[in-house]
Symmetry: C2
Subunit: 472 residues, 2 copies
């Protein structure tokens, strides 16, 4: 028996037949990230069913020096849940831990295990006339554990903050197999460092999140969806500030896209139509929502505000979705930007942020700079204006082979990251670092911050067994 | 020249004549905490004027092995800013760093140095028609650096969260004198561990906060202040849930006190009157606020809600403050609980929290348990119902000497802390650990959490020079 055979036999004994497999057919789907950029190998795929099993398994890994790659829905945008090619790691899936332990309507909170899929949570809390105020494209596969480990974002961050702001309590297994359990939320607790915060966004490098208590909000009672045409991104930001001032906290999402993006989506989607009659340099998709206590007169307030915005020349044109179906159609345009772009061929994507107030200026400077440096490419920027979060994509000249992304595309990415760093921004606004951006973080990150991260990592995972090769 | 003379000479050269003193007259006021519980000694009092000076000083301390005790307004409730009695530490005051660097009305944020006094910030942002949504009794002395280091709370946490939720960016000097600078807030930034979160609430044991960027909200356009009489604390919680359901997020504060508390305050304050005609077992003080976008009809909405609460028997009696003067008079009753109690003589205070939904049950169990165990004492609980945060005070029998607090009072505190720990609560909801509760945290804290804290502390401050003897 080799050392790894011994380890596998002990792991199998611990987890039972449903909890461990090294069958290639069962493992293969989980060894490549969903975008198909990274493929790794693993000793086995472990699927523990409880926190105790995770703890036992992590202890076993610690004893045998086996690295662990935690995985939720395998929808990381940065290869954060894919093992390396050496094959010595254990792939640790949390998907079997998918119980929603409690939905507490009175306390407006839910406790769920790490493997609960986001959409499942949405549906479960809707039954209690509540909502979980975070969503994103991968909601059908992304799990709560993954969302916490990557501090996931999305359009509603504008109003409700990222995943960090939704987590009231956490349970995680640490590198030595001990269980950090702080699931019962205390609204006020000043007993030292907030260790929960350290685990959120640490991409499984400091611990394996096994469960969490999440905050809920009253269900949406009414929503108003507005499409606005604007002459510039600067004008879009002025409109956002005006809306926040005139309509207040009900403004929940404010997404922007240039005309070229809209055109690409319309060409891609069957039967799609532009919401406004004329083209505009920029478009904003605005969602205003209210719960039962504030829904009275919501639409009227929005109409008054937009009429005034029109009078003040803050908007070129605007239309309100007349029905839920039309609201959905507006959102489909926004959500189809990425697939429409993928249909065009090779491209490199950058998920970046700059200080909110500098976003218009940044986009105006960055698009021509990149297009001039790389003739034939098209740079497009769209996304979450209110968060300073730009999805900055550079599309290869038509007909370029897909391998372009790994060659010239990589050089372009370096330049984009240099640029955003010079602007005081982040090379990862939403998607995390994973393995995709690890070297770029080491190259461009603040040395003081990197030094603290390395010290914390070494202190909590001295053997470096938790998600090695990711983040730092 | 002794080693400490050499250190002091170098520190004096670095900081200049205004930046360093060892004159006992100048130092004495800062060597005892404001509650008079702890008195220490120090090599000198350093008052650097800039982040660079703090960094230089911390480097110097590291080179000479001199421990540092950071201090803001010296209003710690836990002796967190008072040096020990050995006299080998440097007292590092941040009070000279009191510039508000920027108030950004458009971006609704302010950047201030650590020594800015809370009330000064309130006044500065009010001029821009904004507000900083956190306040507390010590606002005239507490500094931004201290508030961040202790993750300060207060009544508005119900709606806006504690200091942690207000901090957008931070600048701090670490144990080796390097400067962690993340003042320019990126609304979305997923480049690894959120180190800002680690510094917030770490009581100066991981770094010295030198500046911060804080979020601001639109100014309050209207407020409604309600005093309600209730048969029990359970009824008070039911009323809070009802109000949040009926009035929504405008409910900003919900404070509770028992009849005995109110009577003590009325006896203490000249010319004070009870807001309601009859006595009630419990009283709630409710503040509902709205900014310009949501102020329309606020009072009417509250009146309708309270009328319905009365019909549903959720409240025994209630009255609305008819003027700002009356609103202030209501709040004065709440704010005078502590001084009224101090006037009665010896007492021990506990700043504790339990899971929000268990607070009524906890108070009902804890008050008779403590009073039965310590005959002649009176236990009172009041505070922030919506946060599960109880100020649980045990008053000595009339005529007891003040030294009681350090003797029998200490035993009572142990029992209260045991009790709250059994209920899954926190021995420090708002006030932090400091030196007051350090041993209690070591005795009662979660061993897993304590272990991580000690590892993080050792990783970031291996020589243990930052605020030694506090927290851990």
């Amino acid at each position: 028996m080799t050392a790894s055979d011994t380890f596998l036999a002990q792991a199998a004994a611990l987890l039972g037949p449903r909890g461990l497999t090294s069958d290639p057919d069962l493992m293969t789907p989980w060894l490549t990230d969903w975008r198909g950029r990274f493929t790794g190998r693993a000793l086995a795929l472990a699927s523990p069913a409880s926190t105790e099993e995770v703890a036992g398994l992590v202890k076993l890994c610690a004893a045998h020096g086996v690295p662990i790659v935690p995985q939720g829905g395998n929808s990381s945008m940065s290869g954060g849940a894919t093992p390396d090619e050496e094959g010595g790691s254990l792939l640790l899936s949390l998907r079997r831990m998918n119980a929603i332990r409690e939905v507490d309507g009175e306390g407006r909170k839910a406790t769920c295990e790490a493997g609960v899929v986001l959409q499942t949570l949405h549906e479960a809390v809707a039954e209690a006339e509540l909502r979980f105020p975070l969503t994103l494209g991968g909601k059908g596969t992304a799990t709560i554990g993954g969302l916490i480990s990557t501090n996931a974002g999305g359009g509603q961050v504008l109003r409700h903050g990222s995943m960090r702001a939704q987590v009231l309590g956490i349970e995680a297994v640490l590198a030595d197999g001990s269980v950090f359990s702080q699931l019962t939320p205390l609204k006020k607790d000043n007993r030292g460092f907030d260790l929960k915060q350290l685990l959120i966004g640490s991409e499984g490098t400091l611990g394996v999140v096994t469960a969490a208590t999440l905050r809920l909000l009253p269900a949406v009672a009414d929503r108003v969806v507005i499409w606005a045409g604007l002459p510039s991104l600067k004008a879009a930001r002025a409109l956002l500030l005006y809306c926040e001032d005139a309509i207040g906290e009900a403004v929940e999402q404010f997404e922007v896209m240039p005309q070229s993006c809209l055109e690409a989506v319309i060409a891609y989607l069957p039967d799609a139509r532009a919401p406004l009659a004329e083209p505009h340099a920029w478009h904003a998709l605005i969602e205003v929502v209210a719960d039962r206590t504030s829904a009275d007169g919501l639409r009227e307030r929005c109409e008054t505000a937009m009429a005034e915005a029109f009078e003040r020349a803050l908007v070129e044109d605007a239309t309100f979705a007349a029905s839920e179906a039309q609201a959905e159609a507006f959102w489909l345009l926004r959500e189809s930007i990425a697939p429409a772009e993928r249909a065009r061929g090779a491209a490199v994507q950058h998920d970046i942020s700059v200080p909110v107030e500098r976003m218009p200026e940044f986009v105006e400077a960055a698009v021509p700079e990149i297009e001039a440096a790389w003739p034939g490419t098209e740079a497009i920027a769209f996304g979450h204006l209110g968060d300073g979060n730009v999805h900055f994509h550079v599309i290869a000249p038509a007909g370029t082979a897909m391998s372009w992304a790994a060659g010239q595309g990589k050089e372009i990415s370096h330049q984009v990251h240099d640029l955003v760093t010079r602007w005081g921004g982040s090379i990862s606004a939403e998607h995390g670092i994973g393995q995709l951006k690890r070297d770029e973080l080491a190259r461009l990150g603040d040395p003081v911050a990197l030094d603290i991260m390395r010290r914390v990592k070494a202190a909590l995972d001295p053997a470096g067994l938790l998600n090695p090769g990711k983040l730092i």
